[in-house]
Amino acid sequence: MTLEHETRRTIVCLLRDGEKSVGELARAFERPRPGVAHHLSVLLERGIVQTRVEGARRLYALDAERALVAWNALLRGQP
């Protein structure tokens, strides 16, 4: 399940209030997390995150509806 990984859940939470660059996301973590870019690409492939280019920056934004579906799938897997 896409959100089984803690880093992906954190990324989804961080994007909830607006788009961010990968650098902003990495800095928002309380402690260094490896593979933020990798986890972003997984979320991108699943359609939970979308991206656009603004000047020299690539920005990532949440598709809230798809994030909700992914969260519900994760919660369904709980006993």
């Binding site: 939470c13 909830r16 788009e19 991206t51 280019v53 809230a64």
Partner: protein, 215 residues
């Protein structure tokens, strides 16, 4: 202009759209007809055609680049405003009042607290053994406005929880699964069902704490 590209690798999928355009146009009806024709001609696979249709549903403007990958089963859209992160009806409006999730399993409590945090709630979690005294102690320490408590713990605690919620700090008790005196969040939890319950209770507790006579 809406253009559809086919990425040959994961790196190309993430990079700026480039390479041959699979299909392009500004009129959606025409684009869909072109996709159907290309599928008939075998120039687009069934998966690619369906994925393009889904991608077109996601494109809100008339200028976007769609990139296909994974044998045509996945896509991303670039060049238009991204999906809105604006609050939907299931996001929290009260992001301050403390909510505590209490379960017998710490992992389960954490996951549910994270889900509530995703919705915007100021949620924390606690794991307590299946005995009522430990649960009451935890609630007295944490002083949440709303406690979301696993059904089994509610059963263990019984009416003592009601006493707690009616004495001193007002706490609304929501059962996780069943049985909450103030509300229930059914399991498996569906996040779109959370806000109607929590918003109502947080509002009630906030008013009660400001004006004890309301409680």
């Amino acid at each position: 202009m809406i253009r559809v590209f086919r990425a040959e690798s994961a790196a190309a999928f993430r990079a700026d759209p480039s390479g041959p355009v699979v299909v392009e146009g500004t009129d959606r009806t025409e684009l869909e007809a072109t996709v159907a024709r290309l599928e008939d001609e075998g120039r687009l696979s069934h998966d690619e055609a369906r994925t393009i249709e889904r991608a077109l549903d996601d494109v809100t403007g008339d200028a976007a680049d769609v990139v296909l990958a994974g044998d045509g089963r996945i896509f991303r859209v670039e060049g238009e405003a991204p999906a809105s992160a604006a609050p939907l009806e299931w996001f929290a409006t009260d992001r301050v009042s403390p909510v505590l999730v209490v379960c017998g399993s710490g992992a389960r409590a954490l996951l549910i607290a994270e889900a509530l945090q995703f919705l915007g709630y100021n949620a924390d979690y606690a794991a307590v053994p299946q005995d009522g005294a430990a649960l009451l102690d935890r609630l007295r320490q944490a002083r949440p406005h709303v406690a979301v408590i696993e059904e089994a713990l509610l059963v263990a605690c019984g009416s003592r929880l009601l006493d707690l919620s009616r004495r001193g700090d007002v706490i609304a008790i929501v059962g996780l699964g069943a049985g909450g005196p103030d509300g229930v969040l059914e399991t498996p939890l569906r996040l779109e069902a959370v806000a109607p319950t929590l918003e109502r209770l947080l509002d009630r507790v906030r008013k009660a704490r400001l004006s004890p006579s309301v409680a």
